[in-house]
Symmetry: C3
Subunit: 664 residues, 3 copies
């Protein structure tokens, strides 16, 4: 990108065509330089089969460009027209009760249906060709929030697709599938791939085969990736200058792999889903990090433009200044583009109160003022931001594969993503440079790596972790790691199996307590827990032990090791045989940052965020005040607040919901 | 009616035929003058197709008449016979998962199925002809509690019926439907009516089109009204002397329109559904008012005869005196007939503990004594009651249309019907003459009109409201009013749109707070709220403003107007930009009654009810003690307690659960 | 049996065949004398139709026998192979939404399907023939935990089967069915059996016919009994020396009737489902008693071998010593065989953390030590145990028929099984010899009989109860007893109908209170209740009366009798017109034990259990310490602790989770 993108999602189709010019003019007033359009406008663009009409959007693109505003277009495949679903009712997604969905909302067609795939390619090509020569169109978004509502489908195409995917994965060998799924358990052996059906969790007499469930999750991710890839290939073929993105992120796509087909990933951010208390910033930060771990650089095609609501809920209203603060939160995490959803609140449909910048009556009010201020600021500082990257010294390992492997066999234990959220919040409150790092990505540059419950382990993963530590890194691995192979089978070795060498331990037993109060004590820690692993230190040093308040003599874990540290090469590898809670995370992270020599980027009250983006020639320190009161910030890098052009000597008074960007 | 109806629901088919005579004699002893029969006896009356046998009910009607007891008969269409459903399994209702219901309960046939409609007409005519000449049959009830269990059906007949209904509503123009439904949102446009399917809330990938949902609710109401009309027309044709009613009231029929085909509506009242604490009277009062708003005069075909229970629940037992108290509560609200459900508790079936007046063992116990006392009293005072109408000085606007428009897009905000219940309870506790008034009905005679969240506004409604105020009425309108058009679209104007003139305001912004404590302060009010509207007074006077306890400087609503009053013509129009809670309703209603010069009908403890019925020549003041202790009542109209023949000088000592009816 | 069975469930199919020998040797080390095998190995034994291969299990049986270990085999019908379900998708169970289950878990084929029945007989015969001459196979288990996941099925076979079962029950007379189901209610009459469909609770518009629901529950029990009987007949035919059992117990089979086809019933016991607090012992005791009431003698084919977990839950870990304690709990209740589930934790499938004795890594740890200790002890004392029977002086009447009759019409009242659990726990804490007694079984030997809510009464039941009392027994009957006939209809007589004579009372009225505090006072009792019956003493003596704290003057029950005692023949018959809670059960049971001269078997802290098994020549007193602390036990029978060979003078210090078995 050659400038920082700022704008809004725009729906000219919802309003009289005559409004476009005035809209464009008002946008320009707010320093908008880009809009996103057309993701739900298939029927409008193709009212009957092959009767394409791109006139409205042609006009919109042109009118906007006249005001200096570029356009991002979207393939409209989230909302196939009624003439299409009426022709092909068999293309609708089918729910877990074998009931097909009906027309009338979105995401109703199965993205694995070959017929629908052909339609997807057809509309993509038609649209691409129509805008091929239009320089105002700078990039594309594929579809819209794939899998945001539903990801599972039980239609015949999915059954067939799943079988084909399995045959490919298992080299056409049903024996390999039988082995991988452990079908000897409960006599589930298959004779050929045609016998396999999609597992239906909780809709079969007994619990499903967890390896089958895991493969189904992998299939869901891979198949929607393939669906998107077909669109990407067409767009690239028609005009190689376009960049292509998609707006995630949800829980059922491996975005790290999914984004390989894209120029960069994008993320829709509605922080009010998590609330408006100061500490609620963590939800939005986690969302940004889940996107950033995939492509590093990204944009936000939808950032909240007011409270959202759909039929049966309404989010709390962001106070004045909040929307802008939240926008800068995304930018601090790495966003290089910021579009608010949406220009004007729609007067009909299921999102009548999903607030846009303008209200139903088209009157600019406080949200418009705030939006325009943000536009002016980003115009001023956008060039400084572009080219910088978020600094990450503490990495939290992220992996969809680990999440799904745990998810299908959760045993109600804290899941990796919940642990990540806790760790991210804790470390952000400690003002250190923390971020998510995909487990398939490089660990270069990290001082401290935290691997929360990486239950699936293979040689490649283990060697990468070993290399990180042996080269001087500090590592923390938490409970349940290393216990399973890629088929989600328990390993034959004593856990943590492939991680035993780097950690210098074995895990002899694990279990849950219930009414009995248990603490992990030692090394300055006193943490309550209700899940324990009994560590045997083969090479590691024991750091903390399990203790029971009452009747310790009848407890198997009493006095056993629960936290260990192993010197390995030039680094240190810690293993924690339980899950952290808020208090213990704060203590342990403090300690590990000290060990790894990770310094805070500044000091302030708990929920003030300090995040750094940097390039070779500059550091930008974002200070974000999530409180409705002014706050004091100290120990910052010295430099200049490029929003206000005031110099900063490392100390700052920041207004309620205020933002500072210190360039140094 | 020429006398006040008193009696019970009677099921001679559940007992040996020989018991009828003894039953009739015992009824006569309790002063019963009417029974209701046959609503679930189709198979008995037509054991095989066209093999009619009305013998049992002929005998019952005759035996009862011999004791001076008239009969109300019912069309038995709630329980079609097994031979019919076995012939036509395709006539069964279909649930939202496309699964047909099975035989074995009631309401299993789809009332929109043309085949079943023909059967409904056939049995109605056969039954009507059979009793055509029987003078003891004085009236009819159509079907039984239509839509009490389920109203939605997804069968093919309903799909077709919905399309036909839509085509009629939208003048055969699919463009009009597309406009009304806002199908430009999410690319939902239809090319013709045959493409439309019934929206399935929560069973589609994403939230449904709210305008489609609203039309489906309208269709459900209109189509069941049409189903009933066919029966009504036959009954009127066969014997024009019969009156015809139906026993409601539930949430999915617009009874105001539904009742246009009837002589009057009826309502089944089981107050124990709401509990037996003194304050629980509000549930029963609301139910009565929901019936009264439709036809003014009404009867109660089923008033509780003991605790009810169905399979998995059992209501608390009414203490001695409660059943009679509850019966008078219905009468005070306007009932001109009172039948208890049911004569004798049935020994089998799903309502084995839906208690009748007599127990399974046919022994008359305390419930019979209470029933007989009530019978004796109504015999004595019935003539005084007949011809009187409930006095209503404070009207609470009622509208099924508003309820459904809000319901399909609720945003979890307090719904109009919940607001009505709160207001009714509050005003009844203030002992003023309050009642529901349908928004399509006349406002004549009202001093104060409260319009809770009338979100749908059109010129007719707005003009009626303006006329009421300009002629001197006092009006209160609450939050969200006037925000949508009849298609449930947000209006293009600044709200409250068509109500802006009479209220003298615009509403600039609205929102929800969450953890932040907010109060509306001013005009002697201090009310907590978590939903606000920011009022701009164009003509009105500001009365109260929003204030936040903490960090007011970061709140958009701080200091803004939340309550206003506009002098309009000879009246005053208040707008409250939030929803009332119990405390604030008490305060505000007190204030508005003062402004409107509405005087209480008497004074007593909180949950003692004082309700007036009047005619040109008399006022009947009903005093109802919902407490298990005696209560003092003062400031009553002077007159005579026609239950005891004691004179009343405006002060009364009323026994626990006691009733007084003062004629003045 | 000629020795006490001790062992584990063994799955040689989950591991390399070469492991069998080492497994057998390690088992022998732990004194294992029996394993159970093959219940989920159909596909392995018949990889394609009629291509039988019993090699693995032949080898396992032989290798185990070489170490002195016998085998119990199982018919593998809980997990039909994929080739079978692929051939016959129409044999799958169908859920209440008419959706067939899919392959991939267990219990997926309908046991009422004639085709699947034939397969069941075929595999049973093939397997039986294969092991016919193998002396190491001592017995069989049919299928596995029938109805543990689902019992209801709505497939066509079940519809047909239900009709046939009904036709048989009602002598081919649809009139009898109509009478029994009370089809006159809601016009449900059937013309022939082919019109009947399985009632779908909560999936029909209104509540189902409770008599139909009851018959459906009876059909479910009878039909699965018939399914099993076919297997039993084949096994007996092939080798009459084999004993045959089945591992229950769940809620939807009448095991008393079901077990008539077996040599004895068995029960799978996982006490951690109820938790690990001392008082949680009651769950496991109730489970054992539910098995014991069926056949007196029984075995435990699956006793917990560690915490269990399935996909989404994980039980708390039993502390060291707990597993052994729980095993003795089952033995004390009457088990003559004890197999732990399972030898080694499986590395794949849905029960990856359903812990076996060995972990995934095959390392013997503390669970193995505990298992081996138990094995050594049972080897030592097994002969003493065999031939003894649990002493029961206080019987708690058990009846699946009563449970189902109440269950289909529960009215949210405390159900009999919950009352039994409360009573069992209470009486076990009082250390008396208490047990469940099937209502169809003999009452001989009981001093005190408690009949909790026996709502269904007929002459046979009533006469048996009368005989028990007249011969000197003490009886307590609780609320709702005697109110219905075998069709679940309310009786025509005043309740308790057939029990009125022995109890000397009638019940005039019943009901629920809600917010009003009510107590039953008298005879030293002061029990809170919210359900009352008003007793009229015809012959009995009133013992306690209902009293209301507030406004007693408005309560029907105030001052009425709630507890009565009738001298009848040589005994006493108490009636309690409400349901017990924990406090009142303790008081009332103490009182009745005194009256019935029931003495405790010893004294100790609340949750220390003392249970006696006896034979003509010996008494074995089991003392079980459910506390994690040592406890003092006094007033025991004197004798010798056969676990330690120490003599016991009636006093004992028992270690945390300790067990003593005193022979006297």
């Amino acid at each position: 990108m050659n400038h920082f993108l700022f704008g809004a999602c725009y729906y000219p189709e919802h309003w009289d065509r005559s409004w476009i010019q005035a809209d464009a003019a008002l946008m320009a007033q707010a320093h908008v330089n880009v809009v996103r359009m057309a993701e739900f406008a298939w029927t409008l663009m193709e009212p009957a089969r092959d009767a394409f009409d791109f006139g409205l959007f042609k006009e919109a693109v042109a009118s906007l460009k006249a005001q200096g505003i570029d356009s991002i277009l979207c393939t409209p495949t989230a909302t196939p027209p009624r003439w299409l679903t009426a022709e092909h009712p068999e293309w609708m997604r089918v729910d877990i009760n074998d009931v097909p969905f009906t027309h009338g909302t979105r995401q109703h067609c199965c993205t694995n249906n070959p017929g629908f795939r052909a339609e997807s390619r057809r509309i993509t090509r038609a649209m691409a060709e129509a805008f091929k020569a239009d320089a105002a169109v700078i990039g594309w978004q594929t579809d819209n929030e794939l899998y945001c509502h539903v990801e599972e489908c039980y239609c015949e195409s999915c059954q067939v697709g799943f079988r084909e995917w399995l045959a490919l994965r298992y080299d056409q060998s049903i024996e390999k599938l039988n082995h991988a799924w452990g079908t000897l358990f409960w006599s589930q052996q298959y004779d050929d791939f045609d016998q396999v059906v999609i597992p239906k969790k909780w809709r079969q007499p007994a619990p499903c085969n967890p390896s089958a469930l895991l493969d189904f999750r992998r299939f869901l991710s891979d198949s929607v990736t393939a669906f998107q890839r077909e669109q990407v290939e067409i767009l690239r073929e028609v005009n190689p200058d376009w960049w292509i993105t998609h707006n995630g992120v949800f829980y059922n796509i491996d975005y790290y792999k999914f984004a390989e087909d894209l120029d960069f990933l994008a993320v829709d951010v509605y922080p009010a889903f998590w609330g408006t208390k100061p500490e609620d910033f963590i939800g939005g930060s986690q969302l940004n990090e889940r996107c950033r771990q995939a492509t590093g650089t990204y944009i936000v095609p939808e950032q909240c433009g007011g409270p959202g609501g759909q039929i049966d809920f309404l989010q709390p209203t962001p106070e004045p200044g909040r929307m802008r603060l939240w926008a800068y939160q995304s930018i601090a995490h790495g966003a290089d583009g910021m579009l608010h959803f949406r220009w004007r609140t729609c007067r009909y449909g299921a999102e009548i109160h999903w607030h846009g910048i303008l209200d139903h009556d088209n009157v600019p009010r406080r949200r418009f003022e705030e939006f325009a201020q943000e536009g002016a600021e980003l115009k001023k500082i956008g060039a400084d931001i572009l080219g910088t990257t978020k600094r990450v010294e503490v990495g939290i390992s992220h992996s969809y594969e680990q999440d799904h492997a745990q998810g299908v066999l959760s045993f109600s234990r804290p899941q990796p993503d919940a642990q990540r959220e806790l760790l991210l919040g804790t470390l952000m409150r400690q003002k250190v440079a923390v971020g998510y790092v995909n487990e398939a990505d490089s660990y270069a540059g990290l001082k401290l790596l935290i691997v929360p419950s990486a239950i699936v382990m293979d040689a490649e993963r283990a060697e990468k972790i070993e290399a990180f530590v042996s080269q001087g890194g500090v590592l923390l691995v938490t409970a349940t790691s290393g216990q399973r192979d890629v088929n989600n089978h328990a390993i034959e070795q004593t856990p943590p199996g492939l991680l035993s060498r780097v950690l210098g331990i074995t895990v002899e037993e694990f279990g849950k307590t219930e009414h009995r109060r248990m603490q992990l004590q030692g090394a300055g820690l006193e943490m309550d827990a209700n899940y324990y692993e009994i560590i045997q230190c083969t090479d590691a040093e024991p750091l903390a032990h399990w203790h029971f308040e009452q009747n310790p003599q009848t407890e198997a874990a009493e006095g056993c090791v629960g936290l260990s540290c192993n010197e390995f090469g030039a680094g240190k590898a810690y293993y924690l045989g339980t899950f952290l809670n808020e208090a213990s995370a704060m203590e342990l992270m403090q300690r590990l940052c000290d060990v790894a020599d990770v310094q805070p980027l500044g000091r302030s009250d708990t929920n003030v965020c300090i995040i750094e983006r940097y390039a070779a020639d500059r550091r930008l320190t974002f200070v974000l005040n999530n409180y409705p009161e002014p706050k004091e910030v100290t120990a910052l890098a010295c430099g200049q607040n490029i929003l206000t052009d005031q110099s900063c000597d490392g100390t700052l008074q920041i207004e309620p919901f205020g933002v500072a960007v210190i360039r140094s």
